[in-house]
Amino acid sequence: MRAFSALHPSVLLVYFLSVLLLTMFAENPVLRVCALLGGVLCAVLSAPTGGKRKMLRTTLPFLLVVALFNPLFVHEGVTVLFWLGDTPFTLEALLYGVCLALTLAAVILWCGAYNRAVPSDKLLFLFGKAAPRLTMTLCMALRFLPQLLRQLRAADRAQTALGMQMPADRKGQIRGKLRVLSCVLSVSLENAMETAASMQARGHALPGRTHFALYRFTLRDGILLTTVLLLTAVVLAGFISGEVAYSFYPRVTAPPVTPAAVCAYAAFLALSLLPALLEAVERGKWKFCVSKM
């Protein structure tokens, strides 16, 4: 997904916002399957292998549970598959559950893709122009937290090695950990004094702060942003006109296939496949170039 991540942060933000929101609010199973397809492709193209396996292991059981819980607790729908005691187990509820699980999977996948494509600094950059000081503070917080965690571990280690964490009872254990925490907090405050000095020395208090970032908005970004907005508009039009409206209850039916609905499906499919498409084009170019060299 290098081709996609290299886009301007504003394009990325708009893109992910529209895909995620559309996915969450689409009832229509066709749209949900499109979203899932896009999400899976993104994950296959970009997530690290170890991460993928881990994600599958942890989310699959969860998704299964979601798919099965819905029919166990929701008894709407007219197609009864079988009776559990005196409660009906309906096809509609089962399909609804499966669909919900797919949506959840899609959302998880898209959130993962978002995290990989838009690291914190890109997001901060987007707000940097409007609020440079707030952005600076957030930036510092982003650096501070991992640092604090590292120091907590180091202090815990140091004090454990000295025998300060070997209490017999629970109370003593808690007291030991509190000691580590208070020590690290004071050290952090002490360090923050020096950070403040370094900021002061570099004129942090001066009025008229600007915000610098590495990103430039190019023509390519403009074209892609327009495309994203157009596709989103088409899908939204389908939503608002009610053309893609769908409900599992009371009886499961085929999704609508009017021309307007098909347009919306196509638009959403194109939208969710956009990162994969860009990636494919890029890879194709590379292959072509390499074969020429």
Partner: protein, 556 residues
């Protein structure tokens, strides 16, 4: 043309009895490289901070400080922030943002420069300093040396006219420190940057500086060229406390008591001086306490130890073997990230090897005890005063209440920290913090003391104190394992030195043999004496072996 003029400046901190600075007057010309030195607490940092308006300490100041002929108070805020660059001691704490490129741009952002200008300045600074390679990295992934270079770079992006640096190399390993100082020298030479540097490690800066200012108790006592200062200091008696910090060449000169020659301040000049002397074949063996024989049971032993932090990460230690005996001081040297700290953690028991054995000798009550002093001693302090901190440790260790006061008193006396007992640990200087943390560690009555870079940020006098202390502890049968970058310190302190490289201990030998066999990784004294007196690795040893030509040739 002078860029900075200090006129009769005195400064007193609020509630202080005596002034921190007294009638200080000097000027700095444009393009000069000036080194400010003096003992800890002599007012170096105060003076430097007074020159940078944004960091000026609270208190009352008299006299005038003029930058570019304008009094500091009347400088425009942008000029004061941008044209006077300031780099502090701790590389880590000065960094503000999470990305290297953003950190570079920080100062320029403050000045309110437009994006295009910042882009160009950041680019040219990064390429001039050769940091393009890690331009897009997170600041957390950098080494200490890289961090300090980044701090310098982010000041340079503001295009200052003068740089003030407050012990910028104190927290760096020697190789990174040399690299940093060379960058400063390059700035001075190639760009004509005016530099005012506060340092306590004078080995290298003397050769780089145009002028040295010596501060003593808030007064400017010497202001001259490095050669003249070194010569003046070498000829005072009793020896000035700062003498221990002078470059090795100058210290050898002092010990030799040479009078006619010019005082050398670099390895090259030191070698020129030694040509005028003759040497006995080998350096006299300095009194070296007996090292336990090989077959005696070791106090601690690492046998074929393999370690890594996570399954998918590379091995840090690969088949490391090391034996430690009671009553010895062993120094492990090695570059950054070779696993020196990991070695200590294994012995302290906070990490476990996945292959191999860590064995501690059996004692009457269980196994031999280890105690680790981590690199940042502050992580050990939990109370408001040093005394309470020590008492609380004894309480945790279940020492009877009646004994506690006495034990704290005893340890404080041994380490000469009685005066520090009622102060807050954070208010102490780096060396004092180290000492207090050491006393805390020693309260656990360890058999094996593990020290991680104990000399970091210590001045020469403090280091000397540590050497003496470690020797007394050795007399008591304590075994000390020190992990350090500091070759001079190791040469002076250790009974055995070991080189850790690529996860293994490569050579273990007494410092005399260890350093004289090394060509690069050795003390400055040894580099000066190479070819004259191979086995001398300390200034004292070189001086002891040398005889003036005339006398040695004469028949007895």
């Amino acid at each position: 043309m002078e860029i900075l003029r200090i006129e009769n400046v005195s400064f007193t901190y609020p509630n202080a009895e005596c002034p921190a600075l007294e009638s200080m007057s000097f000027t700095v010309r444009q393009g000069e490289f000036v080194v400010l030195c003096g003992e800890t607490g002599c007012g170096k940092t105060t003076l430097l901070r007074l020159i940078k308006r944004e960091l000026a300490p609270h208190g009352t100041r008299t006299g005038a400080i003029l930058f570019d002929d304008v009094p500091l108070e009347r400088l425009d805020a942008h000029t004061s922030a941008g044209e006077i660059g300031f780099v502090l001691q701790n590389p880590e704490n000065q960094i503000v943002t999470d990305k290297v490129w953003h950190e570079l741009a920080f100062g320029a952002e403050s000045l309110g420069l437009p994006t295009q200008v910042i882009r160009r300045r950041v680019a040219e600074t990064a390429s001039w300093l050769g940091i393009e390679g890690w331009f897009r990295q997170d600041t957390d992934t950098l080494s200490g040396g890289q961090k300090q270079l980044l701090n310098l770079a982010s000041v340079l992006v503001m295009q200052p006219k003068m740089l003030l640096l407050d012990e910028p190399t104190a927290q760096l390993d020697p190789i990174a420190a040399t690299e940093f100082l060379n960058t400063l020298a390059r700035l001075n030479r190639e760009l004509g940057m005016t530099i005012l540097l506060v340092e306590h490690r004078l080995e290298e800066v003397f050769a780089l500086a145009d002028r040295v200012l010596l501060l003593e108790k808030g007064r400017l006592t010497l202001d001259d060229t490095p050669h003249a200062i070194a010569e003046a200091l070498c000829k005072t008696s009793p020896p000035h406390p700062i003498c221990e910090a002078l470059p090795s060449a100058a210290r050898i000169y002092r010990l030799l008591g040479a009078k006619k020659e010019r005082c050398p301040i670099s390895v090259r000049e030191g070698r020129e001086l030694l040509q005028k002397y003759s040497f006995s074949e080998t350096a006299p063996v300095l009194p070296n306490p007996s090292i336990a024989s090989k077959n005696e049971t070791p106090l601690a032993e690492l046998r074929e130890v393999w370690f890594r932090y996570a399954r998918e990460l590379p091995d840090v230690l690969r088949g490391l073997t090391l034996r430690l005996h009671a009553g010895e001081i062993c120094c492990v040297l090695g570059g950054n990230g070779v696993g020196k700290t990991t070695l200590l953690n294994l012995l302290a028991g906070t990490d476990k090897p996945y292959r191999g054995k860590v064995r501690l000798a059996k004692k009457e009550s269980g196994y031999a005890k280890t105690a680790l002093l981590p690199q940042s001693p502050l992580l050990l302090f939990t109370e408001e005063t040093v005394r309470n901190d020590l008492l609380s440790l004894l309480q945790i260790l279940d020492v009877p209440k009646a004994e506690r006061e006495a034990r704290v008193h005893a340890i404080a006396q041994e380490l000469h920290i009685e005066a520090l007992l009622d102060r807050h640990p954070f208010d102490l200087s780096g060396g004092e913090q180290q000492k207090c943390a050491l006393s805390k560690v020693l309260l656990t009555n360890p058999d094996l003391l593990l020290l991680d870079e104990p000399t970091k940020g210590m001045d020469a006098a403090c280091k000397q104190g540590l050497v003496t202390l470690l020797r007394t502890l050795r007399e008591k049968g304590l075994c000390t394992l020190i992990v350090t970058h500091d070759a001079e310190f190791a040469a002076e302190t250790a009974d055995r030195c070991a080189l850790l490289f690529d996860g293994e201990i490569l050579s273990v030998a007494p410092p005399r043999d260890f350093f004289s066999e090394n060509y690069f990784y050795t003390t400055a004294a040894n580099r000066i004496a190479r070819g004259f007196c191979e086995h001398a690795v300390t200034c004292e040893a070189v001086a002891a072996a040398a005889k003036p030509r005339g006398k040695a040739d004469a028949p007895c």
